[in-house]
Symmetry: C2
Subunit: 207 residues, 2 copies
Amino acid sequence: MRYHKIADETIRRLPIYLRGLLSLSEQNQANISSKDMADILGVNPWQIRKDFSYFGVFGTAGVGYNIKKLIKQIKKILKLDVVHKAALVGAGNLGLAILAYPDFGIYGFDIAAAFDTNPKKIGRKVKNITIEDVSNLSTLKKRKINLAIIAVSWDKAQQTADALVKAGIKGILNFSPCYIRVPKKVKVITIDIATDLARLPYYMPAS
Amino acid sequence: MRYHKIADETIRRLPIYLRGLLSLSEQNQANISSKDMADILGVNPWQIRKDFSYFGVFGTAGVGYNIKKLIKQIKKILKLDVVHKAALVGAGNLGLAILAYPDFGIYGFDIAAAFDTNPKKIGRKVKNITIEDVSNLSTLKKRKINLAIIAVSWDKAQQTADALVKAGIKGILNFSPCYIRVPKKVKVITIDIATDLARLPYYMPAS
DNA sequence: TCTCAATAGAGTTCACATTCACAAAGTATT
DNA sequence: AATACTTTGTGAATGTGAACTCTATTGAGA
């Protein structure tokens, strides 16, 4: 019996809506209709309305939705109304690219620490972050960091995750191409770039 | 009335299965049961069997599935039984990380060209690939490249896609955080790292 | 004030996906 | 050969999400 639970697929779409809304807000637009928003984001208007109806946002017929109000509402649901500090583990090619990625900020994320095992990298400073030895992971709890990004090679992913869980991390974004075992209370989202690419040929017309 | 079409969700899982199977194959294992495979990949055994049943792979009761046969079958369905040449557009942080990413090869992808607009980067050689000016995109058709990875900033993503479509590209893996308009015959898969991270706090227990 | 166009929100139906349960088919053991 | 065990394949039940329709509400303009 679920009471106020929002569908997972809706939750998956909310950050996309949020990104579009933030962009419109910067352009000082006040309202938007589900139809216009659908055009911008490439989805269906009724999908948007249905998603919003889950959490009782009321738009105005004939006008649309108030953008500022909507942003506030979505942020609250996604728990993005507070700043989340995140730790990056693995400062290789991918790790450094993530560190330089500009878009985490708009959702209220702050990558506050970075770790690696390579002595040559430890101590280096990238974007105001000093790369630390992974043995320092245990300090995360004290530093109020409860979110981590794993960008290490697949053979070290599980042990990294174990260390993170021990350090009190509650959510992991995993870029390693493997399944990671964690306690139920910890949420893992895995992004496997290669598997997404591997789906493409199936959908491509025969050349 | 669909005859042999495989469910999209199944297609999404096939590359994951394939990765696990390739790994097992390297260890010279001959057979595997759906249960053991489920343990490794973190999914349900009946899900695996159901997925396989769609394309009529027959395992052996009491033994499991023949790994080599299964690999061949999955590769064929995903059209990964031939090498696909891919082009990378955008040699920034993310682009270079993708270029260095080792796992595309196992699925039979070959990143055969890289492009950028920055004169300082053009001509540089990375991993045997010489970075070219984007004006060269039009040569892709001649070079038999029909697959591209977009890793440019969001404000140049649409124009990049337009150029790629004009150059005969049939499939695009898009890392830019925006919706891209393309003709129906072209397939786009978008990976938006930040939106995935943005889902995490919702699922994390209150600290 | 009345009418009309635009648009939200709720309800319905349909399509797809997951889960489950079990018979059938194979292997191993005694 | 008989029995116990393992594992597949699949039909049915259940759950979930998408697509579409319809009605009510609002704003604007005659």
